[in-house]
């Protein structure tokens, strides 16, 4: 049995330690906000936070998670509420099909926790591992900038 801390709750799983975190989140815990996109850590659709840092859950085996806190898109804001980054994505219209969106938002949250005021070049560098096939990149950059400003004001 492996114990996982996900969105503030403790879960036990009998899945083998080499199983990717993504499969357990989606198929055992029913947390389908993290998406499968490539299985090789190249697209960022499966991004979750591990102690606040963005990781690719499709290439993160359970054994590497240990007792660290996993945050998925479902646990980013209290039920019924929105995180400022989620709000900013809606306001900027920073999605089309929305499949990359949870991963984009969690990557952006990780970026803003490291740097509350990233410039465009830093956003591009940090977010470059997240693919949006609909091509909403300019709006995602705008959303991250506006969320950053909002979070700095309320900090």
């Amino acid at each position: 049995m492996i114990e996982l801390q996900v969105n503030g709750k403790t879960y036990r799983t009998s899945a083998p330690a080499e199983r990717p975190l993504l499969n357990v989140l989606r198929d055992e815990l029913g947390l389908t906000g993290a998406k499968y996109g490539c299985g090789e850590g190249q697209c960022g659709a499966c991004t979750v936070l591990l102690d606040g840092r963005a990781v690719r859950s499709c290439v993160t085996p359970l054994r590497a998670v240990g007792g660290r806190a996993v945050t998925t898109i479902e646990g980013l804001a209290p039920a019924g509420g929105l995180h400022p980054v989620q709000e900013a994505f809606l306001e900027a219209g920073a999605l089309q099909c929305g499949y990359c969106t949870p991963g984009m938002i969690l990557a952006a949250v990780a970026l803003l926790s490291r740097n509350p005021d990233p410039g465009v070049a830093e956003i591009v560098r940090f977010m470059d591992g997240n693919i949006c096939r609909c091509g909403v990149y300019p709006r995602i950059i705008a959303a991250i900038r506006s969320a950053a400003a909002k979070m700095r004001r309320s900090a």
Binding site: A15, R19, N23, R26, D27, G30, L31, T32, G33, A34, K35, Y36, G37, C38, G39, E40, Q42, C43, A45, T72, I73, E74, L76, A77, L82, Q86, F89, L90, G93, L95, Q96, C97, G98, Y99, C100, T101, P102, I105, I123, V124, R125, M127, D128, N130, I131, C132, R133, C134, G135, V136, Y137, P138, R139, I140, I141
Partner: protein, 703 residues
């Protein structure tokens, strides 16, 4: 190209009981049956004999809920929003009160599919007509209830008001206890664009919050009680046939069901990981047949014509005489252009969940053709279509790549064998290998131009990539334009804007070459040959915003433009590139694109589609190509197949020309066609190197 759907239309007769059961008020819009049905062998022609097909319906329940039923699907183009706007506009009701049931073959009217930029020009007006008719029904009910004339009834913000102070009713209060079924034709009048208040304005994505919170369930997210996960054994190469398969080891694994059904071999297990292991444990023997490789592709396409009928079949357009046109020219030019196969790579791969209940099959899947997939399933399992239901939850994009029911059939096969629901989600590698591709093609252009810049002759032959936008939008006296279908070595099909991308690339590159040949400015040269005022308008708008006439010639910097027309939309793009000759690196630095598709329905979402098209188009323009050899795909992963990322992003400016006097056309496809030729022409401007193949610089600029 896919074969058209065989029938599957529905008439009011088939649905009457369903509508009666709904209660409240139902407005049903019917249309004449599609031409293909009237001409089917044995069918009697003439509208009198053929029942009219249901195109759309709209329901108001006793709880005031407004429900729209449409066979279209949402794949990121945001038609759930624009169609809700269309209904809100005509019904004078808040958009928040409108719910769309989409892409459910049991509950929505038949629809050919969500492709070809057809939703905005065709489905939206139908829903608007249904909503306008619903407004009339509500007006009648109110006039009857309050004993006043219809003229004194006003509907606004989802409420109905009569002349008296207390005479106010919700839609539900008026429809309570009623069972009204109103049939209208598609000739009912619509609110003109100048008087729009909901249409024509930016509205946020309907259900947007469900997407940013992860609450929305995409097809690949669905889970049913007792569901198993399925995997399919893939052949080692295209054209391979199965000789033998030993399933015994897989079948011994706990919880695993391994299936062979003709050439289909797969397994289902309680989790995805085990299902993959089970498939890996199947010992299969395959017989390979030689397959053409990428090296001989373009010769192969020219030497292997295909006999294709109907859409996608050979076509020929001729005006004047090419020989005369060439004789009248001061210069002649003959060039060949090529485009590679590229992959849609929708971020959500093909996925389906299938469930059998007492011989009836239900499949939830991501497809642009729910009714087409229903036909595929019915055929695969020998069922009448009434025994198959396909539902399409809002899907993680398609771009023309999700027309077929492959994953749906696979899930259904495994579910039938397992006696439990089964989910199949393709891996990225399967998506890059077993889906279909944007066709590769060869285009040969022969032209003649006079010293003053008038193009006198235009001969254009496209091999395999397709006939979309093959005709030139320029006014040229002598033309011969032909499409030659070919046998494609790889499986191919629709891709956003179809061959309009390839044809615009060849045409607009060649136009640029002609401009250079006569020493004219590329903008001036195009305007000289463009008579269509809408084409001129986008060219001028893009050039103005870009500052085309003030562009500065710096070393390593180049500027290019391109324009065109397809599916009711006009586009012009100007691009600036930066080229480093030492390293060969090419960057598109800035793009200005002007787009005009009639009256704009939702400016922000249209802008989003134009921006997205430019960015997606950059991939096919600069570096995307499917590499293959011996029937195998050599780059079936994002680590090997490069798609546009944040770091590829140019500065993008979009100019929308809003023509309220013209009916709205679709905007999700045509904006993709301008970027490739604009970028290629800009590279020529920067370096003097003329590139005639897409992708332009897959490995940088090599000279």
């Amino acid at each position: 190209m896919m074969a058209p759907d065989r029938a599957a239309s529905e008439t009011l007769m088939d649905r009457r009981d369903f509508f009666r059961a709904l209660g409240g008020v139902v407005v049903v819009l019917t249309v004449e049956p599609a031409e293909g049905l009237q001409q089917a062998p044995g069918a009697r022609s003439g509208a009198q004999q053929t029942p009219r097909e249901i195109a759309a319906w709209l329901h108001i329940g006793e709880d005031s809920a407004i429900t729209v039923f449409t066979g279209k699907v949402e794949v990121g183009q945001n038609i759930r929003t624009s169609l809700a706007q269309a209904v809100a506009e005509e019904l004078r009701a808040p958009i928040e009160r409108i719910r769309l049931v989409m892409g459910d073959t049991d509950r929505t009217p038949f629809d050919m599919g969500t492709f070809g930029s057809r939703t905005t020009p065709f489905m939206a007006p139908q829903l608007r007509r249904a909503a306008a008719a619903m407004r009339e029904v509500l007006t009648d009910l109110a006039a009857e209830r309050w004993g006043c004339s219809r003229e004194r009834v006003v509907i606004r913000d989802g409420m109905v008001k009569g002349p008296g102070a207390a005479q106010t009713a919700s839609f539900g209060e008026l429809t309570q206890g009623k069972r009204i079924l109103k049939e209208i034709s598609d000739a009912a009048p619509l609110t003109p664009a100048e008087r729009w208040s909901v249409l024509g304005a930016s509205r946020p994505k309907v259900d947007g919050a469900a997407f940013v919170t992860g609450r929305h369930q995409f097809p690949s997210d669905l889970r049913l009680p007792g569901m198993l996960y399925g995997k399919v054994l893939r052949p080692p190469a295209f054209g391979a046939s199965l000789v033998s398969a030993d399933l015994s080891e897989a079948q011994r694994m706990p919880g695993v069901i391994a299936v062979r059904d003709g050439n289909f071999v797969g397994a289902a297990a309680p989790d995805e990981f085990t299902a993959s292991q089970a498939v890996a444990a199947i010992r299969a023997e395959w017989k390979l047949t030689p397959q053409p490789g990428a090296g001989e592709l373009f010769e192969y396409l020219k030497k292997n014509p295909a006999e294709t009928q109907g859409f996608g079949g050979a076509s020929r357009h001729e005006t004047g005489s090419i020989e005369q046109g060439l004789a009248a020219a001061d210069h002649q030019l003959r060039q060949t252009y090529t485009v590679a196969y590229i992959a849609h790579a929708p971020l959500e791969p093909r996925a389906a969940v299938a469930q059998w209940e007492e011989g009836r099959l239900t499949v939830w899947t991501g497809t642009q053709r729910p009714f087409g997939v229903r036909s595929e399933l019915a055929q695969a399992f020998g069922l009448p279509e009434s025994q198959v239901r396909v539902l399409v939850p809002d899907t993680g994009s398609g771009y023309g790549g999700k027309h077929t029911g492959d994953a749906a059939i696979e899930a259904a096969r495994l579910a039938r064998a397992a006696g439990r629901p089964v989910k199949v989600v393709w891996t990225r590698e399967e998506e890059f290998t077993w889906a279909y591709f944007r066709p590769a093609g060869v285009i040969e252009v022969t032209s003649g131009v006079r010293r003053d810049g008038t193009v006198t002759a235009w001969e254009f032959h496209n091999y395999n990539s397709g006939p979309a936008a093959i005709r030139t939008p320029y006014s040229i006296e002598h033309q011969r334009i032909e499409f030659h279908p070919a046998r494609s070595p790889l499986r191919q099909g629709s891709y956003r804007a179809l061959a309009a991308t390839a044809n615009h690339f060849a045409r607009e590159t060649h136009m640029d070459e002609l401009a250079a040949l006569v020493g004219m400015d590329p903008l001036e040269f195009r305007l000289r040959n463009a008579k269509d005022p809408r084409l001129r308008a986008v060219l001028e708008a893009a050039a103005e915003k870009f500052g085309w006439s003030r562009r500065k010639k710096d070393p390593g910097v180049g500027y290019g433009l391109a324009a065109g027309f397809e599916k009711g939309g006009y586009v012009a793009a100007c691009a600036e590139v930066a080229v480093d000759r030492a390293t060969g690196s090419v960057r598109v630095v800035r793009v200005v694109e002007a787009f005009e598709c009639g009256a704009v329905v939702n400016p922000d979402h249209l802008r989003n589609q134009v921006e997205g098209s430019i960015i997606m188009g950059l991939g096919g323009a600069l570096f995307e190509a499917v590499e293959f050899e011996d029937g195998r795909i050599l780059n079936p992963r994002f680590s090997a197949y490069r798609v546009p990322r944040f770091s590829d992003l140019p500065q993008i400016e979009v100019v929308l020309l809003d023509r309220k006097d013209l009916p709205p056309a679709g905007g999700g496809e045509t904006p993709i066609v301008g970027i490739a030729p604009a970028a290629g022409n800009a590279i020529f401007d920067a370096t003097g190197v003329r590139l005639r193949s897409l992708p332009l610089v897959p490995h940088g600029l090599k000279t």
